[in-house]
């Protein structure tokens, strides 16, 4: 367990994100992430390759009403190397949940090459029903796909969610498929399930 914890910390430090919260200038992104606890629907527009603005609908099963957020995602640092890419993002927003103001903050780090990727997301909703999450992901591609081919990734996701109502951590094996501008992801461990649909246009 200690070794696993050290591994997680190492991966967190090493990380960059594969599904970038900021995409190419003038690019639009729709993201729908549904799991057993939350529903997260996002629409973002990248005003530059370093900043995206958007709307986010976030629903958590333990709170009585969803949060509607205006959010800004900033790419604060990118390392483009010959065989890899790494990024650091800051996320911030202001939401409304049940007529109360709900600030949102978060950060994301990722590293990837064509074979392996790792990412870590930490975020927090601050309001009447505060919650925070850690999501650590590491994935491996079983084959190297070219630009126009179907990409397949096997991913292990470790999540921790803390709120006034619960504190829970879980591990999900996931399958990620993408081709062109469409991405689909599904995962389950028998009790927890998650699906993601994402499109860039």
């Amino acid at each position: 367990m200690r070794i696993f914890s050290i591994f997680l910390i190492f991966m967190s430090v090493a990380t960059v994100l594969m599904a970038n919260p900021v995409i190419y200038q003038d690019g639009k992104m729709i993201d729908v992430i549904v799991d057993s606890k939350t529903t997260d629907i996002q629409f973002f527009y990248s005003v530059s390759p370093k900043m995206a603005v958007g709307y986010r609908y976030f629903e958590y099963s333990k709170t009585p009403s969803p949060t509607h957020l205006g959010q800004v995602n900033l790419l604060t640092k990118r390392w483009n190397k010959e065989d890899s890419q790494a990024n650091i993002y800051l996320l911030g927003g202001l939401g409304v949940q049940n007529d109360s103001i709900t600030p949102y903050i978060g950060g994301e780090i990722d590293w990837e090459n064509r074979r392996v990727y790792v990412s870590v997301l930490a975020d927090q909703l601050v309001g009447n029903d505060p919650m925070n999450r850690w999501v650590l992901r590491t994935g491996v591609a079983p084959y190297l796909a070219e630009f126009n081919e179907l990409n397949t990734w096997f991913i292990i996701q470790v999540s921790q969610l803390n709120s006034d109502q619960e504190k829970e951590a879980w591990v999900l094996p996931m399958l990620r498929l993408f081709k062109d501008n469409v991405l689909l992801e599904v995962g389950s461990n028998g009790t927890m399930h998650q699906a993601t649909f994402r499109v860039h246009f």
Partner: protein, 97 residues
């Protein structure tokens, strides 16, 4: 009569050489850093496809290149290529013409 034949020969030669040049026009190959994910790199194709001068865009993750085929009689300068790749989130290493 001889002059006419020479003129005709030169005109034919010009037309032939122009056609040959157009046929073998070399595409622009751009070496790019950070090109590891096809989903993230879709913006490259989308951004360059908006240019009237661009006939086709080929991205290779294996070769780490973006190959731009330019329409006959059109051009695309290095600054535009570099700007568009930076707006797509990538860094240009070199441009080969």
């Amino acid at each position: 009569m001889k002059t006419k034949k020479v003129i005709l020969f030169l005109v034919s030669l010009f037309i032939f050489s122009t056609a040959l040049t157009a046929e073998v026009a070399k595409p622009i190959t751009v070496k790019v850093n950070g090109l590891v994910c096809s989903f993230c790199a879709q913006g490259i194709k989308k951004r360059f496809s908006k240019f009237d001068s661009v006939k086709s865009v080929q991205v290779s993750l294996e070769k780490k290149t973006v190959v731009l085929e330019i329409k006959e009689g059109k051009s695309l300068n290095d600054k535009v290529i570099k700007d568009e790749l930076e707006k797509s989130g990538y860094n240009v290493v070199r441009i080969e013409r």
